[in-house]
């Protein structure tokens, strides 16, 4: 299991220091150690994207990152997206207004991936959005309203 390693990770602006097993995944660290359970786990092959979060501002699947690799890094999770007064992030708002979620399990990962996508490409076409989100699976929406939500968020930002 390996000797525990001390890491310090800044999560949503707050530094956390813990001893973790070297084999611990970042998603397990965020959920089980830091205690933020908004980041979900949907598979064990890095296929579904439910665990997407931001590392140094860019979306990563947190099941593909070891917690020790996040030592000294900035991690952003879904819990850090809305403003302190509860105002939703424009992407969250766009998902709500366009019915971009049903059961909501893929949603945190989808929102994190989509915000990262718009940072790279602020004016995507529909095809850009579909391709850009191909690493995030949803079983409820058929993606139609997710794509609509992301395009709406892009045009609101523009």
């Amino acid at each position: 299991m390996g000797v525990p390693v001390e890491i310090t990770v800044t999560v949503n602006g707050t530094a956390h220091t813990h001893d973790v097993e070297p084999r611990m995944l970042l998603v397990q660290y965020i959920r089980e150690v830091v205690g933020l359970t908004g980041t979900n786990i949907g598979c064990d092959t890095s296929s579904c994207g439910a665990c997407s979060l931001h590392m140094n501002g860019e979306a990563v699947k947190s099941c593909t990152v070891l917690a020790v690799q996040a030592d000294g890094q900035e991690v952003g999770t879904i819990e850090g997206m809305a403003a302190a007064d509860g105002t939703l992030h424009p992407m969250q708002q766009a998902f709500m207004e366009n019915h971009g979620l049903q059961c909501g399990y893929c949603t945190p990962g989808m929102v994190m991936a989509a915000t990262s996508l718009l940072q790279e490409n602020p004016n995507p076409t529909e095809d850009d959005v579909r391709l850009g989100l191909e690493g995030n699976l949803c079983r409820c929406t058929g993606y139609h309203n997710i794509v609509k939500s992301v395009l709406a968020a892009a045009s609101a930002d523009a």
């Binding site: 908004g38 019915h99 059961c103 399990y105 391709l131 309203n145």
Partner: protein, 806 residues
Amino acid sequence: MTITDEPTTGVIGKRVLRKEDPVLLTGEAVFANDMKVPGALHMAVLRSPYASAGIVSIDTSAAAAMPGVHAVYTGAELAETWTAPMPCAWAVTEDMKSPPHYPIAIDSVHYVGDGVAVVLAESDAIAHDAIEAIDVEYDARDAVVDLTDALSDRVVVHEELGTNSSYTWNLLIEETDGAVQAAFDSAAHTVSERYVQQRLIPMAMEPRAVVAIPQPFGGDITLYTSTQIPHVLKVMIAVTLGVPEHQLRVVAPAVGGGFGAKLDVYAEELLCVALARQLGVPVRWNETRSENTVATIQGRGQIQHMELAADSSGKLTAMRVKLTADMGAYLQLITPGIPILGAFLYAGVYDLPKAYDFSCTGVFTNLTPTDAYRGAGRPEATYAIERAMDALADEIGIDPLELRRRNFIRPEQFPYEACTGLVYDSGDHDKAATIAADLIDYAGVRARQAEQNVEGTTKRLGLGVSSYFEMCGLAPSRVLASLNYSAGGWEAATVRILPTSKVQVVTGTSPHGQGHETSWSMIVADKLGIDPADVDVLHSDTAIAPLGMDTYGSRSLPVGGVAVGMACDKVIDKAKQIAAHQMEASIDDLEFVGGEFRVAGSPDRSMPLAAIAFSAFTAHDLPDGLEPNLEAQVTYDPPNFSWPFGTHMCLVEVDVETGDVDVLQYVAVDDCGNQVNPMIVEGQVHGGVVQGLAQALYERADYDSDGNLRTSTLADYLVPAASDVPPITLGHSVTPSPTNPLGVKGVGEAGTIGAAPAVMNAIVDALSGLGVHDMEMPASPNTVWSAIQAARSTTDSTSSPTGGNQ
């Protein structure tokens, strides 16, 4: 394009945003595996790597000795824990064979994934490490994985049964004896088709998770589980474990999708409850995705033989259906009934005389059990009739849409007694088909096909049509009784107006993405003349909502939502008595409008519901004999199923050199009666269509001949991504159901039911000019390419150079 809003006076029919969303969007929603439970032991299950084997010995000593491991149990050690085997609630025939099925195998295993031993440990990681250290000696046996092979009984899954046939269920409906045979004998046209419904993995994005928490001193036990059916599960756990039902509380917290797969009683739920009770500590279990592909039920798995007889004009005169249905290794909660649900829909939207012969044989295989998956028997039925209608159109030489029109049940025939004896409530199939044809430009597409599908072209256009009826809103309890289903189909609702006039609704439905909190609030808002924001909907916890039949089968709105509306009426009736008393008016002179009681003819005399709510609470001035408080409960047993319908059309371009299918356009026109929230209806259709399209193009639970699942991860099992599916064009018509006061029908499964045949008909249509007349699902590039090659090698040079079914 999306549908446009209908003008309405109240909130029903408006695109109200969902109350459910903020907690889901911010990560605050608590799914079962998010729960923080101090002191909980983590369970991991060791699963059989063999599809069929005897268990010779199990050595758990090394696992038990690992630091952090609390206990290890084998099936034999837990055998005394169960007071009854796991339940199958649907004995479809008197002589149905059902092997005893225990939460953990006792002396033999029957599918890859069957539980063999469990570990309880301080963490999930330690528990999983420990199951690796358990040493099991198996006596591996021959497995049977192919349905036809299983039917032969060459290898028998359960030796004690002596056969793999669980049951044969027949439905022969004839006006006069021999009517079916006579119709086939005199038919101008017949078709005889064979279709395969591949096994599918439901793949809700949330794998299952279970947390069982006992209370001190042998008190109640609470089970948190990602289920669609907390109420049904409570009853079943009481029966299976002998836990007194009144000491059992089942909660479905936030649930990340179900699609029928969480409509079941699972081994891990029973194990966690039993072990938590035994040890007096919380026990929890999280399913991994790979476990989910074998330990959660699968869907479909049928071979269908479909025969149609028609007269010279193409009018259907008789139908024969013979199914072989894959049960898997055991009968889960409603496994045997799934294909039977389809039995009533093989005639689809067509006016078939009473000349219908259906039979289904349920067959055991050494595979994961099957059970309900979105549509549950009805997508299979619709696929068979809609593919067969295209085959018949091809045989006669007419356009498939024209053939459908000649056979549609006409609007004036409703309520329509179908050949099966069930009564369809309402429908206008020609209208739905016409809207779809206009949206896709049917005539224009046919013209484009004639131009494009010429000899030598590498990209052929195909247009597929699928018209469907769905039998949903399960269900009139008496009809369920006639099918030997051992539960009712009612739903309960309580509406409670609190002293400050806010409203609590308690529903027996158990949503997991369908937005009941929003839609039920809208129903109540319109009934009571209040803002939906002033309504709170409580659900999915048997301590709060003790009565319910849960969410599946597109039943929640046409049964549960209707119950909510009826409970509102009942509350208004009570409030009216108080209003009449306090206003000193005759109850017959009162009308309830816009949230207040008015005396007819005296516009100045009125009393708001809010005032009545507070006086019902103080109880200072109530009519003699009237109980305080404003609350009403309704248990509604629907008089009929609800029958949504529609027509879907799909335009594909098939690359004949690579076999790649590109879906260019998908049009879905659905009629679910009155729509409470069109935004939610559209979402259900979008998701449903993509699940049907996924069956047509991408998904199959692929097993090797030893019963090993080759698609046991999301890297291998192709759940489509956003880039794999087209945008969807929606249209709709509104034909209210006359059988419930809201005029509503279910919509959760409609998209899935319509989609697979629309896509497959389009692919076959594209390739019919090359001599391709059928295609197995999923129509992967390899499958399509192979079908083209096979057709080329058997078709002579006289085949039509143009495509299409014209």
